[in-house]
Symmetry: C2
Subunit: 516 residues, 2 copies
């Protein structure tokens, strides 16, 4: 907090989260015939009308969602929560809701940061949260083909636990890991922190089972096919608007028994980005490859408290590092030899870059804290801070233009007299042709209109992204990015999505207001 | 031929290809208003009505197509051939054809083996072949991002020549390499012989420009995105039914300067498939990894003439190889060290498998002849042989079931008194979760009904494939696989494709009768 006060001009104040019971939760508008029909499918104890249960599924974990749960703006509360037992019940629920014109918000871990699970009604009479928590089974494992089929509601850590006896892993570790579900990963084209090693979630998806108002749809018969367009890739990223994903079949890998995470420091953003590009283009990326810009590096050093920052800075300056950029590299494999060989290949490709090794403790520290961002955000919000992240991706030749444009947009939008936002950035996903950029923004929160403050900053950032890259590399579209999708995929792209939607969900009951 | 006579009971006879001039080419049915409008767009000299020109675009290179060009069955001849100059002219041609209800068959290298360029009219008054031969430019190169944008009509060897000054390569080498175009690769989800190293064509596609009746559609702003479903993957594999691909932006790589191809022999199919699986799952596949089954190995040894087959067989038997399966491994890279390191990694993963090295000459021999299959087929067809290939893919645990089922189906269908077909098989594309199977069928050709003979065999093979894998791993759907697509992607999948088609091509003028 001391660092933040100095850096941003923040004046601390206590703004704790409001207890749920203080929120006015509207009566459920679920029409009686729909209520009766849905109860007949899932059973009375699995159709919840209790305000606390409904409030718990009122939105996800975006900064705006959190503000709403602190009393700013309005919460969209679902009219009921459904807890179907299995894919068959989901199928029947979907058909029943379509028949009764009731909107359905598929709900997994509820970790959307783009309004993907906001309980909007669209044109429907009511909307229900379809919580997939009971779809928690590992359906089958094919160790020869290295495939595992899971029900969609399995939470990521539980999926790994279920694979433990098979000595297999999925290897998908986004920051939402602790709470998010496999179905959610598929619905949102999620990408994990180890995407360089394990691939994005869409790279792992071999098959999918989808409950649509027009019946069940199963896809995936081979690792690759030329039998027309890859329709799995149309379901992946459809955010519950084409159907409810009830099962996913994933490529799995042997569970790594050896891990090595290390911290390095590179001199300046340009050198760091060039180094990551070199690794990606030589195809020797570490499984986790993450480069922080100078601001994020400063923040990491300052926030990590125990570090003797000034001493470290002196040490780095002596080693010729004027503008330290933290580079985390992590390798995982089934044998020490393999990790050693792959680490050697990575470091060989870094030979031309001035790096200073900070050792394994820094790498392990990053690894230990890698899911803690959301909790840190809650703590900061308690103190009157505006704190949010956003991300994008582009090709290497545009990366710096994109970073500059977004930093400039966020800074201009959030800067007020005496108060300067912190805009930190990192690369966490690198490809041969480009990389993602992930921004963390910290600023003193507006008292009068915190929602307007961030909405304006986000709009400025989105406008800055447009000429250079994608509106989202791994957070999905939801409500928050929907206004920007058309510019990215074109009016024909929007028409195509609408056409697919009409074909599968002619009554538009699936996740109203998201994506299309 | 001696081997074939012994093996199949073939009775040779001379059945040469018929000269084009002997074919009755129907008058062009292109309506005058369409003719005038199209002439205004492309210019008089680029709208061809000449029967020879139209005949040259009457179908592709499937066995059935070749039979038709030898006088069996009926040829579908386009009513005109259009040679637009650039993407803008293509766009105007597409809109003009939609307006006049004229069908459009996009035509690249004409190498489809599934009827993908058959000039069907569908519900249209006439159909034109839209030959992209003049779209032959390298539009731009971004060496930092390793991206190259090409016009769609660039033939693969020309694309490599155009990249030569940039010391870059695409690395896509299907058997159709010599004639096929980049647009065709994209339209058909092509996969090259070095797919293990360079990826399938869909893995290389970063952007696409599509001419649709409803306007131009451009996709691709970043290497990866979570902005909804990946619509690029909806265009890739759309076979000209959603639009005409006019430009592709591809990931490119440094041109390899060092190549090492080697032949090995493994004992038996099961051991060979297990070895390829081990390589794929350890992610140390050679860039080219190709395993022939015993029949294909026997054929390769017999057809390669110069080899002292009996001596080799004795030598292998002495080394403990009872049922030789040829394994071709090829590595390509920019430095000898890199090839050496990757080769070592591959061979290390093969330690548990009994292999006999046949040396580089066998590997280089395979490499030298790797595009010659189609010419060999022409020569065999001249001698009264039925010769065709088909391919599929599945997960590892079903691979042997699939191979057995297809071999059995083809053999039963083609076996007649005294005549036994040769059904050879290889794996040419391997993934962590499965592999492709590529079948070559050689049988004495039926005199009375050669088209019926193969159609029945193909239908039997497709029925055998259905329970286990995809109807096509890299040959696409076209006309020939269209009847089987519904079973693979389900009725909802067909509805989705039709909905996308309606959204982009409401008059159904694009490539009638293909895919959907």
């Amino acid at each position: 907090m001391r660092w933040l006060r100095t850096r941003t001009g923040l004046v601390e104040r206590s703004t704790p989260v409001a207890p749920g019971s203080t929120f006015p939760v509207p009566e459920s508008a679920l029409p009686e015939p729909a209520h009766a029909a849905l109860t007949a499918i899932v059973g009375e104890q699995h159709l919840l009308l209790d305000p606390a249960e409904r409030l718990a599924r009122a939105g996800g974990l975006s900064y705006l969602d959190l503000l709403r749960h602190r009393g700013s703006g309005e919460l969209a509360v679902p009219d009921a929560v459904l807890l179907p037992a299995d894919p068959d019940q989901v199928q029947r629920v979907v058909e029943c809701c379509a028949e009764h014109g009731v909107g359905i918000v598929p709900f997994g871990g509820g970790t959307s940061v783009v309004g993907g699970v906001t309980a909007l009604r669209g044109g429907c009479a009511a909307v229900v949260a379809l919580d997939l928590v009971r779809l928690n089974r590992l359906v089958s494992v094919d160790p020869v083909s290295r495939l595992a089929t899971f029900q969609a509601g399995v939470v990521a850590p539980e999926a790994e636990r279920l694979l433990l006896p098979h000595e297999l892993t999925i290897g998908h570790v986004p920051q939402s890991f602790e709470r998010a579900t496999l179905g959610g990963f598929a619905a949102t084209r999620s990408s994990g922190q180890a995407s360089a090693g394990y691939g994005r979630f869409e790279d792992m998806i071999e098959g999918v089972r989808l409950a649509t108002p027009r019946g069940e749809w199963r896809l995936g018969v081979a690792p690759a096919s030329a039998a027309g367009p890859d329709l799995r890739q149309l379901v992946v990223g459809s955010e519950g608007t084409f159907g409810v994903i009830t099962e996913v079949t994933l490529r799995v890998r042997p569970r790594p028994s050896v891990r090595r995470y290390e911290g390095f420091v590179v001199d300046g953003w340009a050198a760091g980005a060039a180094a990551v590009r070199a690794l990606a283009q030589a195809r020797v990326l570490a499984d986790v490859t993450r480069l922080s810009d100078p601001t994020e590096t400063e923040m990491a050093l300052s926030l990590s408290g125990g570090w003797k920052t000034a001493a470290l800075r002196r040490y780095l300056r002596l080693r010729g590092i004027g503008e330290p950029c933290l580079l985390i590299l992590g390798w995982e494999d089934t044998a020490t030899d393999a990790v050693r060989a792959r680490r050697a290949a990575t470091l060989r490709a870094l030979r031309g870059v001035r790096t200073v090794g900070l050792g394994r403790s820094v790498g392990e520290k990053w690894r230990a804290g890698r899911f803690s961002g959301p909790r840190q955000r809650d703590a900061l919000m308690d103190q009157g801070v505006c704190v949010e992240t956003l991300e994008t991706a582009t090709y290497w030749s545009s990366l710096d233009l994109l970073r500059d444009a977004v930093r400039e947009a966020l800074t201009s939008s959030l800067e007020v007299a005496g108060q300067v936002p912190v805009v930190a950035c990192h690369i966490s996903h690198a490809y041969e042709t480009g990389a993602s950029l992930y921004f963390t923004v910290i600023a003193p929160r507006s008292d009068e209109d915190p929602i307007g403050q961030w909405s304006a900053a986000k709009a400025a950032a989105c406008a800055a992204i447009r000429p250079f890259g994608t509106i989202t590399h791994h957070h999905a579209v939801g409500v928050d990015h929907a206004p920007y999708l058309g510019a990215e995929i074109g009016p024909l792209g929007v028409d195509v999505l609408r056409a697919v939607k009409e074909a599968l969900d002619p009554n538009w009951v699936l996740n109203p207001g998201k994506l299309v």
